[in-house]
Amino acid sequence: MKKERYLLPLILILVWQGLSSVQVIPSYKLPSPVEIVLGFRDLLIVGVPPGHLLHNHMLYSLYRVALGYAVAALLAIPLGLLMGWSPGILRMIRPLFELVRPIPPLAWIPIAILWFGIGIKSAAFIIFLGAFSPILLNTISGVLSINPILIEAARTLHAKEKDIFLKVLLPGAVPSIFVGMRIGIGIGWMTLVAAEFTGVKEGFGLGYMIMTARDIQRPDEILAGMLVIGVIGLLIDIGLRAIESKTIKWQ
């Protein structure tokens, strides 16, 4: 069973390599798997632009995401709990939120650069925008999905509003908050790479790296960079899932 999972990718790579070797696929458009591996090695030890090594690109990207994502989570979770808890607050904030939400995060890039200049702040702001909505919406629906009888049960145990908030609404919404966090980081990571196409001043970042590789006509490095971006996205999701299943043992 396990072997079958790897069979199709393996065959595809072999065919791809074969077609590249006999020059059916032109290498300047789609480099062969071997060339991509060599491109990856160049990213690691030579760097694009030279001296700007892969691990530094990664660190800059992760830093930007961490910053924007942390701010998004820290604002969206409490706000979502409040909005789920109080119909009044929900009615007040929802229309404004629904108005702003359909604007794609990337459409904010020009104004973000105007507000924050080119640099980490504007990139983090774009991540923030991408991650904020799913975390907020899932936190709200998490609170709304809590059986009202649990709130009454807490009241019969003499819970004050503070207890209900911290001991019923928050833990009850956690599974849904995790869903939002996972969607949020996914969108945030996607948004980041695009944000780095334009708004980078330090000369580091995975998005910046693959755009630079295009400028110097290195499709092997572009593809190696894309793979790195994908793998990191996957690892982040796996990590969050692991935290999730450790936190929510009760489901």
Binding site: I149, E152, R155, T156, P171, G172, I248
Partner: protein, 264 residues
């Protein structure tokens, strides 16, 4: 000394679409302290609403509830409620569920853990203290729910059809278990049920309510010694009497089709 229900009435106001619903009408009754009192009546008649008013989850439209002559204020620690659907916190283990009230009260962790462990023992939940509700059987869940309420030492324990969703063997075992606990503690229990046999087996007193709007039809004192035999002639006789009262009540001019009388 006891719990006085004074001219309790409840009407749920209509919300534009629906009409207002008159649920309780002028319920007047005294429940002596330490008694096991069952409330029985057609389904949808307002038994649960009555319990919710006593528990402070709902406000009466008129009338009040006194305990030993003093009006019960909302959020009082004198009254505890056991819900029909257990209402356990699914993210809390058995131990954490039982501890919840003490935690809210602000008792420090070692102390409340010690107290909760005593309840784990009494309620025969040993070995399940770190399990989550989804891993427990129905009977166990209800024991956790009862322990969670009793650990707060309420003077009046309200129970809303607590054994309604259990199979009959588990139900019988739980009834006997509840009696043992109650005989040791001596709290007042107000026990809402559909099940006449259950009421006869458990109670010192059975209060019969009418169809909606619920009025008090009759209150029956049960002077039978315990332990009782569910199938004894006396029990059956009382049961027949109650069933007859309820049947006549159902035949009385229909108030609404939605009033169904089942699960006798």
């Amino acid at each position: 000394m006891g719990l006085d229900l004074l001219e309790l009435s409840k009407t749920f106001p209509g919300n534009g679409l629906g009409e207002s619903v008159h649920v309780l009408e002028n319920i007047q009754h005294r429940i002596e302290n330490g008694r096991f009192v069952s409330i029985i009546g057609p389904s949808g008649c307002g038994k649960t609403t009555l319990l919710r008013i006593i528990a402070g989850l709902e406000k009466a439209s008129a009338g009040k509830v006194l305990l030993d002559g003093k009006e019960l204020v909302q959020g009082t620690e004198e009254v505890g409620l056991v819900f029909q659907e257990y209402a356990l916190f699914p993210w809390r283990t058995t131990l954490q569920n039982i501890e919840m009230g003490l935690e809210i009260r602000g008792m420090d962790k070692p102390k409340r853990r010690l107290t909760a462990m005593e309840y784990i023992k009494t309620f025969d939940l040993n070995g399940f203290e770190h399990r989550y509700p989804r891993e427990l059987s129905g009977g166990m869940k209800q024991r956790v729910a009862i322990a969670r309420t009793l650990i707060m030492n309420p003077r009046v324990v309200l129970m809303d059809e607590p054994f309604g969703s259990l199979d009959s063997q588990t139900r019988n075992a739980m009834q006997e278990f509840l009696l043992r606990i109650w005989l040791k503690r001596g709290d007042t229990i107000i026990f809402v049920t559909h099940n006449v046999e259950e009421a006869v087996f458990l109670s010192d007193e059975i209060v019969i309510l009418s169809k909606r709007p619920a009025r008090l039809i009759q209150s029956i004192d049960m002077d039978l010694p315990r332990p009782r035999d569910r199938t004894s002639e006396t029990c059956n006789k009382i049961r027949r009497g109650i069933l007859k009262i309820l049947e006549e009540e159902m035949k009385r001019e229909e108030v609404g089709d939605e009033d169904r009388w089942d699960r006798l």
